[in-house]
């Protein structure tokens, strides 16, 4: 019984982290129809940035994260402006390949610089159990993940619904030609969206580095999680991402509880397939089927 309660709580909290991992990918897909294969690698790149600033340069954690966010926003903006925008009108495949190329480049540069060793940016807070009762316990890292994820999703929802730039992003996602006719410079909006996605990737990268160990090649592992989250929640839906993250997290932990820890990942994806069968567009998709 204790283990079941613990599994459910951990599943939900882990789901928060998964949502943070998936949300950037969901934004990019929803707005540009672009599957960003490099999303996981960009997260890991951010984690390495935070690692360098905190360990090698002695900057405090919060400042390190902020500097990493600024760097990632610049990288995202340039990546969009000079690489993706150049090919996005030529169909889905060229842009997809550009992100694929970027993912390989990031992995290899990280490996050249840092080697293939496991790294971690665990803060002191991360490993402490902040809640410790008879039935369950919650570690600092998991609680941080969950709270930060909720804040990120809430902030994004606010930006998208209440600001002019947010509305322009949604309009562009809804109908690019019509948005252009309203005077929206849609390619600029794409770059803004990429920059926002980079902020979330950077935050997710830090959370992952604060919770688990990571390697230069960890990006792929998190890309797959992002895919799962986005597919379950519905491509392009921000709130759907939170739902998708929690469902995937719960499915994994409950799968581990009922079928053994070896089946944790498997049960998560079996659950994803079940949802896909029932609702092929995901739970809260904003894209209509023709």
């Amino acid at each position: 019984m204790q283990l079941l309660i613990q599994s459910i709580i951990t599943g939900i909290l882990l789901g928060g982290l998964y949502a943070a991992i998936g949300v950037g990918m969901s934004i990019i897909f929803g707005i540009m129809g672009l599957t960003n294969i490099a999303h996981g690698n960009l997260m890991i790149l951010s984690a390495f940035f935070v690692l360098i600033f905190t360990t090698a340069m002695g900057v405090n954690l919060i400042s390190s994260i902020l500097i990493a966010i600024v760097l990632m926003v610049i990288i995202g903006f340039l990546f969009q402006k000079f690489l993706v925008n150049a090919v996005i009108d030529k169909g889905d495949t060229p842009a997809l390949l550009v992100t694929f190329g970027l993912s390989i480049i990031i992995q290899n540069i990280l490996e050249i610089i840092f080697g293939a060793d496991a790294r971690s940016i665990r803060s002191n807070f991360a490993t402490v159990n902040v809640v410790d009762t008879e039935y369950f316990s919650i570690s600092g890292a998991y609680l941080t993940n969950f709270i930060v994820a909720i804040l990120v999703i809430a902030a994004l929802t606010l930006i998208f619904n209440k600001t002019d730039i947010g509305r322009a992003i949604r309009a562009t996602s809804d109908n690019t030609k019509a948005a252009e006719l309203m005077g929206v410079h849609t390619k600029f909006i794409f770059a803004v969206a990429m920059a926002i996605a980079m902020v979330t990737a950077c935050i997710a990268g830090f959370l992952v580095g604060n919770t688990f160990v990571f390697y230069p090649y960890s990006g792929t592992q998190y890309l797959i999680i992002a895919f799962g989250v986005v597919v379950i929640g519905g491509m392009g839906s921000i709130v759907g991402t939170l739902l998708g993250g929690m469902i995937l997290g719960l499915a994994q932990l409950l799968g581990a509880y009922f079928f053994g820890t070896g089946n944790q990942i498997l049960s998560g994806y079996i659950f994803m397939l079940i949802i896909l069968t029932i609702k092929p567009d995901g739970l809260l998709s904003n894209k209509k089927r023709a």
Partner: protein, 242 residues
């Protein structure tokens, strides 16, 4: 250059890849008028409008709006000059409320400043949009969508409104409503350039008409004076024009 002319298209060629979609098209739109373009499907009407709005770039020729060369300008810049288009199929933002759609219409900085004023004007013209302001556009009827599309153009405080396929898929009663609104808006001094699939109606509601056949303009004139037979011939591509 005649000051009455708000928009002039001079000798443009537009290609899609190697395909010549529009050839040597010239036209003038007089300020304050309702001007229409008539032509069968595939005659290049939509291509012409898209090109005026900067969505396509002409390979040759130029487009002048209020004496300023806007050829090759980005659409967002053209909208800021005072041109606005209600595209074919209305293209409202389905996932956004009616109000948000209207706010998007006033996205350009100049119109953004006066958007509450413009919104009032629009709601006065289209009371039904006021009733549904908080509903998602996806739940609107075809006629309401077209009204929203036109209302959205007004939100940019334009001098010229372009309507592509203004009556496509709408019931006759609704079409009359929409033309009444167009007339009403036109009387406030906004010029219209309209495409309507139905020739007769198009001519009836406009001051001046252009007839397009396979990418070229073959006939033009004061709408009420256009010889009906020749328009028909042109429309069906009878020899003389083919």
């Amino acid at each position: 250059m005649n000051k009455d002319i708000i928009l002039s298209v001079e000798d443009i060629d537009v290609y899609y890849g190697d395909f010549l979609a529009i050839h040597n098209v010239s036209m003038n739109v007089k300020a304050g008028t309702i001007t229409s373009i008539i032509g069968a499907n595939g005659a290049g009407k939509t291509t012409l409008l898209d090109t005026i709005m900067g969505l396509n770039k002409p390979r040759k020729g130029k487009i002048v709006f209020e004496g300023e060369d806007i050829t090759g300008m980005r659409t967002s810049a053209i909208v800021r000059k005072g041109l606005s288009m209600a595209p074919e199929g209305s293209m409202v933002f389905e996932g956004m409320s009616v109000k948000e759609n209207l706010l998007m219409g006033a996205y350009a900085p100049k119109s953004r400043k006066m958007r509450s004023e413009l919104m009032e004007k629009v709601f006065l013209l289209f009371p039904v949009l006021k009733e549904k302001e908080n509903q998602l556009a996806t739940f609107l009827s075809g006629g309401q969508r077209q009204m929203l599309a036109i209302a959205r153009t007004i939100m940019s405080n334009p001098k010229l409104i372009i309507c592509d396929e203004i009556s496509l898929g709408l019931a006759p009663v609704i079409i009359n409503d929409i033309y009444d609104k167009v007339k009403e808006i036109n009387e406030t001094g906004i010029t219209f350039l309209i495409i309507d699939q139905e020739v007769q109606r198009s001519i009836e509601h406009s001051d001046y008409s252009y007839v397009m056949v396979s990418g070229s303009i073959v006939l033009q004139g004061v709408a009420s004076e256009l010889p009906e037979d020749e328009v028909k011939d042109a429309f069906f591509g009878i020899n003389k024009y083919a």
